[in-house]
Symmetry: C2
Subunit: 307 residues, 2 copies
């Protein structure tokens, strides 16, 4: 047995990502011990019962004591207050990271509360499902997915390497970039797609001339794929949009311009423009499959729910 990478990992928040980290860390033997904090007693009980953590703490401050790695697995909007709470209780030399979908705001909200001698290296695994809670996690969630780390300039290279090794050990691939660029990239690859999905699901739900029942029955024509994204955790996503406002609004503006162009092509019966734009989109899809970020198995034809 080689020595585990970390002695004691403290998970602050034990939902989909926190529980998946526990599974993936244990699968690869990356930590001697995993403890955690969750706000509700029900989540703490579940996390202990299914073996995600060995000790559950009612406060984040208690959970981080003696940990050499602290992972904030909470909605982006909650991380500043958590950093303020745990700051005085962190072990010297500890690494603090997070898993939030926005990085600029995390640095702004957390960094001021973390003492010198603690290594703060924000992170974001690009992985997830539409499910929430401590029982939704699984060890394979990060396999083959990218985790972006955004170490502030002047970060200790050894600490960055150690956190990189953790994510690699959990099956992920690791990329380093600055927080601002991360937020721009994620605005287009994740935040705006989610906003659009939430929007069309709500549009469909409020049509007088088409019933909810019809929308549900005939959703296999494309709509259901939007509902899957739109089933993601509302608190997490509210915080994403409140904290990545500028990049999201910029990308939304571009999307609206492009949609107007297609709308005009439909209005004026311009089939050539439609055909060209639709053909171009196929190329991007091929790139995603070649990069291993999706499978080419036909998905619209997926089987009925077993229920």
């Amino acid at each position: 047995m080689t020595k585990p990478l970390f002695k004691r990992i403290a998970l602050i928040g034990i939902g989909l990502i926190g529980s998946s980290i526990s599974h993936a860390v244990r699968r690869a033997g990356l930590a001697a011990d995993i403890v955690g904090h969750a706000r509700t007693a029900a989540t703490r009980d579940t996390a202990l019962r299914i073996g995600l953590i060995t000790e559950a703490f009612a406060t984040a401050a208690d959970a981080v004591r003696g940990a050499d790695l602290v992972v904030l697995c909470a909605p982006v909007g909650a991380c500043g207050a958590l950093a303020a709470e745990i700051g005085p209780h962190l072990a010297a030399g500890a690494i603090v990271t997070d898993v939030g979908s926005v990085k600029g705001a995390i640095v702004r909200d957390c960094a001021p509360h973390l003492p010198a001698g603690v290594h703060f290296i924000p992170g974001h695994p690009i992985a997830g499902t539409e499910h929430s809670g401590p029982e939704s996690g699984f060890a394979e969630l990060f396999d083959g997915r990218w985790c972006i780390l955004t170490p502030p300039s002047g970060s200790d290279p050894t600490a960055v390497d150690k956190l990189t090794a953790l994510w690699l050990g959990m099956g992920a691939k690791v990329e380093i970039m600055d927080a601002e660029h991360h937020d721009l990239v994620l605005a287009i690859t994740s935040h705006v797609p989610h906003l659009i999905a939430y929007t069309i699901v709500n549009t469909a739900a409020h049509l007088g001339r088409v019933t909810d029942s019809e929308v549900i029955k005939y959703s296999a024509g494309g709509f259901r794929d939007f509902t899957r994204i739109a089933a993601s955790d509302p608190t997490m996503w509210r915080d994403v949009f409140l904290n990545n406002k500028e990049a999201t609004l910029e990308m939304l503006g571009r999307f609206s311009e492009d949609l107007a162009e297609l709308q005009r092509a439909i209005r004026f019966g311009d089939g050539d423009t439609l055909f060209k734009l639709f053909s171009d989109a196929r190329q991007i899809r091929r790139g995603i499959i070649q990069a291993g970020q999706d499978t080419s198995a036909p998905d619209f034809g997926r089987q009925k729910a077993k229920s």
Copy 2:
């Protein structure tokens, strides 16, 4: 052995839907014989080689002779010309149907060319994948999915019942509605979602500040689900939008209004509005899973492509 429902089915067009019909008809023994027409010799050869049809015809006119069921499996924009071609060659009492995603335009374009004594009953199976061509079909494509039939008023009930029995035999569920309502329902459940997906994929592909390579690498955050829809056949979708213009533009207008509302909420930091809209969207998702139109298996966490 009971007698098959049809003696001779002629498939006009042998792509994803045509080939899936062949598989599903043969699975249930619904026809004594299946013949077909495809525009290209390559498709005809493939269809014969993999046993989708017993005879391949270079013209639609030749393919329909002696058929008691003709299924137009071509893009919506091609159906009018096909109806004109086959009209004089149809057997008396034959049923002619189609599988197009738009129904009003099909009636407008096809009905004038079909002789008295032929039963024209437009249809639309709400099923598909992002793949195209004669080798992309499979027998299970229609299992548990809805097929909408839009018989014009005055249609022969026996012919409608027979076509209904065919779709039930292929595993689908059948609903009858008028063509105009079909086009409105599909505009929101299928046509606008596809247009939005095509749009955002193209938006992402033309960003100076985020590279295509970054979009592809980090697509697991939601974007890849849009690319899957946007990989659908460009010709088919061009024809859908050209032929369901009014309903698509109406639904797009509503979508844009709703998107503007969310955009404003982001701009002004209105977290309550965001949270409420995101929570509402979850309800629709639950309805779709309960109705058996999707599974609740976590999909964002799907495994890497094997390739």
